[in-house]
Chain length 506, copies 2
């Protein structure tokens, strides 16, 4: 059908869609021989500009003489005032064919995967096609070659940062919930002379992401040049990845995966390693927390994922070590950006050494051994020594300063002014602390959007508590949110006591 | 997260979207704890109206104090002038969970399928979710119970027509290309005292659909009451299904399936039988044309589909007979609405009896035998007798009149005024006529939108032709389209001659 052209008047639909969608009267679509979600080429004869748009049809919004276009398309076509555009049906992009191939269960070639990633990048695929693709990838899976190809395609489609120093190391956690080990690992590792340009995400479903917590102390919206400069000068940086345009298609894929929680292993690996490779990482430790309700639920799944990470890393020239951790236990007592940042600073200041500090030293140790900075089995010791010596704290202060921050001590971190304690209703021994539940209470209190809001645990698993003892405090920036979080906590406080007698029969 | 409410100012985005999509600033979405494609409930405190919308986020289109809404949503919320709306995150609809279940390869219950169909009907699913669903259905398939449940759910969600006469019979072809056997079968069958309220589609990719061809003779946009009245009075009707709201969700599903040509067998069966059951069909003959490039490519696939049609029909109380036909041969010489309508009338007038007439009598015969109107093996004979007697022509004239038409003879059908013959470049015997190729030439000439345009074959497979003999004529409504079709025909005329010498070696 290529070649048959209609002349239609541009009709401005005064919103920005962010996607190249055009609207035709259904009779006109029929005349062009196209269905909704087919594509047309739209050409502005005056400016010689043209683009491909996906069609939606209407029987009322535009007339038979018109084509409805959102502002962003008009801008791209350089349309000003009244304007007649040339419209013709064009073939679907090749990637639609490749998506069908994946649906049929056939492996894709590297070039086919590159084409799909490019078309996702340029918004050439409709949401229906994108959804069908992720569903098929989830069901059919990627083989090793496809995973490597997807990783490389994601890297090629984004910015990269090249460093003039080495070794570049990194750490990534697959869906951990609280704690912010990253903010402890980065200064420890940088203190030892390694370079760690860490990019992190903001939270969507937890009480804080690393970028949210670091933002309490310093600016995290850094440009690639700043990341390069700070890393090379100080050894470490903790930035928000969202501002950097590293592997931007990955963000689009995550958006497609999100509604149905489609997290195919191959796509997780490509997503993580593309971001690491984009900042030139040579040595990476991957933390895979497991537990019910987490991205990875059981050990055998985690082991399979770990093995695939190593294999794909090898193909990309990245040395990887993966560790499986228990994701159901809280990592430290804090839930919420300011609370988590404060706890991190307290650990760096040597004021406590808990399971979060332990985990951070273990993961730093893995990196030290991987790079050859410590002998096998001695990495943890080195990390702990650096933490204890105060060098990590000093490094963290340098990082905060380099990132234009002005809070250098746990004492200077403000918490929300409204607070309330949640107390034990009976005595007993704490058997389990429900991380997901505390997260929801912290979120009801306003975290992560309200940085000073959240939950601070006063107890730990194994503690014996008396009736009336404070289990945790809730912090909120206003009374309404405090009440809302209290209500959540009263419904289910997330603290389970050991029961000797499970049921009485009489 | 249910329960946390923000107050936002309504910002009108002056277009109709046809879908409940609302736009939030990305910071506000974050504050509500939602991602793009999550849902919110929007309430207008003044009018007490509320609805669920799918969220898209922006960082520029609306401010942090606003929610952007399309006109149709504002209308539903009864928003007038400046207005503050209450917005809160809500859970995804249950059907998203069921879609994930299908992706994971588990069978859905009847109630889960009903919920998905209802949510599709009410536009509660995003395109990503809908695309993921159809991809999963294609890969995982429906079992028998799921197919029956999908059929019933499609029926329940649409209008139904109840007739006070019987037997109600019907005929359906899965993706046949040219010919319009329906327009011959309906009057034959109605002449014998059966009732056949046929609803047909317009063409998307062929040169004419039955509704397009019938529209040359009469009005096809009938209301359900008209279909009932005409069927009960005259025995047959040939209407456009699109105007009737029978199984409307099926139209949405077809739209989702279309871009990736996802035609899972279970969904084809549900789609066809829901429409038949909606008009109360008791006896149905299903024509399954097979051939390369058609919906069903080979015989074993067709046999499997046929068997499933029969089994599902049994569960719905519909008597079905399926026939497998050769879909690669042209059914009659005409491609295009007026040409096909004219050829149908010529057959009814007794002016010719070709393979289209033969097919129509065979399919009518199957219906006669299915209903018990003819003994086994005698249906074809009865159909041919009715056709030869002129009764079918008389019935067709009654149907045309009842549908407010005024063309009752093949001679009164106008063809496009610009025409040209395509001639043989050498002599030989015709081995194959490429139906898809002739369709494309007819479409380049303007069919089906230009009703009088198309292609009329002068030759048939097996004919011996001389160099220069006219193979077919092209009809178009203007010179430009004629030239465009001629160009297509010159590139490849679609007529293959037998070759004795395949290659000369010297």
């Amino acid at each position: 059908m290529d070649g048959f052209t209609l002349s239609l008047n541009a009709r401005v639909l005064p919103i920005k869609a962010g996607k190249p969608v055009a609207i035709l009267h259904e009779d006109v679509a029929r005349e062009l021989g196209i269905m909704p979600l087919d594509r047309v080429e739209i050409k502005n004869p005056k400016t010689k500009k043209s683009l491909i748009a996906i069609i939606d049809v209407t029987h009322s919004l535009v007339s038979r003489e018109e084509i409805g276009l959102f502002e962003d398309i008009l801008h791209a076509l350089k349309v000003k005032g009244e304007c007649t555009l040339k419209v013709r049906a064009v073939e679907r992009p090749k990637s639609v064919e490749y998506i069908k191939k994946k649906i049929l269960g056939k492996a894709l070639t590297a070039s086919e995967i590159r084409t799909i990633v490019r078309d996702l990048d340029q918004n050439r695929l409709s949401d229906v096609e994108a959804g069908a693709f992720m569903s098929a990838v989830y069901i059919r899976g990627y083989n090793m070659a496809e995973t490597v190809a997807m990783t490389k395609a994601l890297i090629e489609n984004g910015k990269r940062i090249h460093f003039d120093v080495e070794p570049i190391v990194d750490k990534h956690s697959i869906g951990g919930i609280n704690g912010r080990a990253t903010m402890i690992i980065v200064p420890i590792v940088a203190s030892a002379g390694l370079y760690i340009p860490k990019t992190s995400s903001r939270s969507i479903t937890s009480a804080a992401g690393t970028a949210d917590a670091m933002e309490v102390l310093a600016n995290v919206c850094l440009q690639p040049e700043e990341i390069k400069e700070i890393t090379e000068r100080i050894g470490g940086v903790i930035a928000w990845g969202g501002a950097l345009n590293l592997a931007p298609v990955d963000e689009k894929i995550i958006k497609i995966e999100y509604p149905l929680s489609l997290n195919p292993q191959g796509q997780i690996i490509a997503s993580v390693l593309a971001k690491k490779a984009s900042v030139g990482s040579q040595y990476v430790v991957i933390d895979i927390p497991i537990g019910k309700g987490l991205k990875i639920e059981n050990k055998s799944e985690a082991e399979m994922l770990a093995g695939r990470f190593l294999a794909v890393g090898r193909k990309l020239g990245i040395h990887i070590e993966a560790v499986i951790t228990d994701g159901t236990m809280p990592s430290g007592p804090a839930f919420g950006p300011a609370l988590e940042a404060r706890h991190v600073m307290r650990i760096l200041e040597g004021k406590c050494f808990d399971n979060l500090a332990q985990k951070s030293c273990e993961l730093s140790g893995v990196l030290f051994e991987l790079v050859g900075k410590a002998k096998q089995g001695r990495g943890f010791e080195l990390a702990k020594k650096i933490l204890r010596s105060g060098k990590a704290l000093k490094k963290m202060k340098q990082i905060i300063k380099a990132q234009q921050g002005n809070i250098f001590s746990s004492k200077d971190i403000e918490l929300a002014q409204y607070k309330a304690g949640i107390c034990a209703k009976k005595e007993g021994e704490i058997a389990r602390i429900d991380v997901r539940r505390l997260t929801n209470i912290a979120r009801a209190a306003g975290a992560p959007y309200d940085k000073k809001a959240g939950v601070l645990l006063h107890v730990d698993v194994g503690d014996s508590i008396k009736k009336g003892a404070v289990l945790y405090e809730i912090f909120a920036e206003n009374k309404r949110k405090l009440a809302s979080a209290m209500k959540e906590a009263k419904r289910n406080n997330g603290i389970e006591l050991s029961r000797i007698i499970i049921k009485k029969i009489f």
